[in-house]
């Protein structure tokens, strides 16, 4: 297995682990529902919003890579790939693998950004419900 894929999978693993532990922490805060929870959630929301803003240009670049890959994929039909394999056309097969790796990296960037967006939406929903409940009690 190529070194690039090893590094790439390690990057994915780290990102997914961070996202996973962040979501677990968020869930615990929501379920605990303590008096401090709203303030904690607001602080968490501000950090997530900063992260989303900082990642915006990266996500735009990733979306462009995904569009490029869709065009490349149209060109590389199953028949073409079978032909490259039969002729041991290593250059084309490596080009295809490079493209697939760029697409995978871009997909992960988009997925990680989607997790941040989901986290933001969940926090905003939770805070809005707290406000609605408070308005009802007045």
């Amino acid at each position: 297995m190529g070194q690039r894929i090893d590094q790439f999978c390690e990057k994915l693993r780290q990102k997914l682990t961070i996202a996973d532990s962040g979501l677990d922490g968020l869930k615990a805060k929501i379920e605990a529902n303590t008096t401090q929870a709203a303030q904690d959630v607001q602080s968490h929301l501000e950090r997530v919003q900063i992260r989303i803003e900082q990642g915006r240009s990266k996500v735009s670049a990733a979306q462009a890579d995904i569009r490029d890959w869709a065009d490349q994929r149209k060109a590389a039909t199953k028949a073409n790939i079978a032909d490259w394999k039969a002729k041991h056309d290593v250059a084309r097969l490596e080009g295809r693998a490079d493209g697939a790796e760029r697409y995978a990296a871009a997909s992960i960037d988009v997925a990680v950004a989607a997790i941040d967006e989901a986290e933001q939406a969940s926090l905003e929903g939770w805070l809005a419900r707290v406000d609605a409940d408070a308005a009802q009690r007045k």
């Binding site: 297995m1 190529g2 690039r4 894929i5 090893d6 790439f8 999978c9 994915l12 693993r13 997914l16 682990t17 996202a19 996973d20 979501l23 677990d24 968020l26 869930k27 929501i30 379920e31 790939i81 490259w84 394999k85 041991h88 056309d89 290593v90 097969l93 490596e94 295809r96 693998a97 697939a100 790796e101 697409y103 995978a104 997909s107 992960i108 988009v110 997925a111 989607a114 997790i115 967006e117 989901a118 933001q120 939406a121 969940s122 905003e124 929903g125 939770w126 809005a128 419900r129 406000d131 609605a132 308005a135 009802q136 007045k138």
Partner: protein
């Protein structure tokens, strides 16, 4: 929304863990096993994307229904305003806060489903990349 947000977040967290495990295993597996994983990832991605699409469609329906409800409630609120302006103002604020929270909770549920669909698609992309590199390496060794 069928599940509470905390449960949906747990689902999202579980998908992230599942994807992480699949990537780790795929690096050590033979081509036929990677192919099976790709098929599973493709099916999961398709299901997740179809769910998001369905939610987009049902959002349109809900918006139409909500609009009729809002119109009916505005009429009711107008009568309440005539009877007691202060009381009607309070009800309106509460109603507004509740509908705002309902909307944001729905959006959060949608954002979580979208993130799950993105993870499933990324899983498939990674498995494709692993498979593509393995095929290139095989061709090089022949």
């Amino acid at each position: 929304m069928t599940k509470p947000l905390s449960q949906q977040l747990a689902d999202l967290s579980g998908r992230a863990k599942h994807a992480e495990d699949a990537f780790g295993a795929a690096q050590k597996e033979a081509h036929d096993k990677i192919e099976t994983r790709k098929q599973q990832a493709r099916a999961a991605a398709t299901t997740a994307v179809e769910k998001v699409n369905q939610e987009v469609k049902s959002a349109g329906d809900n918006a139409a229904r909500d609009w009729s409800t809002v119109k009916a409630k505005i009429a009711a609120d107008m009568n309440a305003l005539k009877a007691n302006v202060a009381e009607a103002k309070h009800k309106h604020d509460v109603k507004h806060a509740e509908s705002h929270a309902d909307r944001l909770e729905w959006e959060a549920g949608f954002a979580i489903d979208y993130a799950i669909a993105s993870i499933e698609q990324a899983s498939l992309a990674v498995l494709n990349a692993i498979d593509g590199r393995a095929q290139a390496e095989q061709a090089k060794q022949r």
